[in-house]
């Protein structure tokens, strides 16, 4: 692990703290509790990863286990954010119970499928399961975000903040699903490590921008997001 890795790790960490501060200052804690939960979990994971690197080393098994399991945990937190965005979009229809139930079923289903995919290679089950689960959840996340964005267009959703949060999630899920797929195709692509660090910065950066710059009352027509020069 070189100075660039440490610098990017620190930059991620600071950006996440800034984003939490922005959210708290804008009093968005209760309304977007899952986002705060994810950011706090991500900060804790960052500290934990640094601790494991310092004690066991970057190339140790301990770090590998910690990395994949913490990544799976963060992906599940992201999944909760997506569900809360669904609940916000469909809030007026009063179907949040069904959304929660459906989300839990989908999460359990994805975990089951991931287990089934790695069950044959029992010697590597511990790390493979976490890796497979993250990868599948990212892809399910892409599909669910796309579905949500489609529903928002159909329903002519005009809350700018919500639009930007959903689109930022879409960019993040797609980027990571693509990066996992690329990792499967080219497992030893070293440069991808740095790209991942940069991709991790996307969510706190876009969230901080949205919460600081876009007020709760701002409205944008979805038609303008689809074709702004109309």
């Amino acid at each position: 692990m070189g100075p660039v890795d440490y610098f990017l790790l620190l930059a991620d960490f600071l950006l996440e703290i800034c984003c939490v501060v922005c959210l708290l200052r804008k009093r968005a804690f209760s309304q977007h509790f899952t986002i705060v939960l994810y950011l706090c979990a991500s900060i804790a994971v960052g500290v934990g990863r640094y601790g494991v690197i310092a004690t066991a080393g970057f190339n140790s098994d301990a770090y590998r286990y910690f990395f994949y399991y913490s990544d799976a945990l963060l992906t599940i937190c992201l999944y909760f954010i997506l569900m809360s965005l669904y609940a916000h979009v469909f809030s007026e229809m009063g179907i949040s119970k069904f959304v929660r139930g459906g989300a839990m079923l989908l999460l359990a289903g994805t975990a089951g499928i991931s287990y089934h995919m790695v069950a044959s290679s029992t010697d590597k089950l511990i790390t493979y399961f976490a890796y497979e689960l993250s990868q599948n959840l990212y892809f399910v996340g892409v599909l669910l975000t796309y579905l949500l964005w489609g529903a928002m267009i159909k329903m002519r959703e005009n809350r700018t903040r919500l639009i930007q949060l959903v689109l930022a999630m879409g960019v993040y899920f797609s980027a990571f699903a693509g990066s996992y797929a690329l990792g499967n195709m080219y497992p030893y692509l070293a440069v991808w490590r740095y790209v991942c660090y940069l991709m991790v910065m996307w969510l706190p950066l876009s969230w901080a921008y949205t919460f600081v710059k876009v007020s709760e009352d701002t409205r944008t027509m979805t038609a303008r997001v689809l074709a702004p020069n109309r």
Partner: protein, 136 residues
Amino acid sequence: MIAILIFGISVLTLLRFFVSYCHSLIAESKSYEFSEQGREIAGVTGHSVRDDQFRRLLQLIALCPEPGDDKGRVRAVSLYFGLLGLTRMLFGWIEPTVARWIDSERSGCAYVAAVMLDRRIAYNRVLMARQMSTQL
């Protein structure tokens, strides 16, 4: 095979989401009311700015002291503008409708740059007024 499929779908959705995200930034600036001076400097006609003005507007933005909160937005729009330029270079010659769409997108980016320039000019005016009042 599945990895290639997932990669393909992910890249397509990534492009779709990123373009929509940039659109949401552009759409937000369409409601902005220009000052007369800003309109003149940026070359705004109605609700559009020519895409070839983008670089000039960026240079003007760089000359103005920044309020400290729009740097990220300038970078995001510049990145989108650059990506559009690259797409035009690679695919624009195949299909003229693609080139037309890219031109209209780049014009949207130039509009955002014009809005940011006008905001910075307004900020400068406030700074100068403050300085004048303290000197008096």
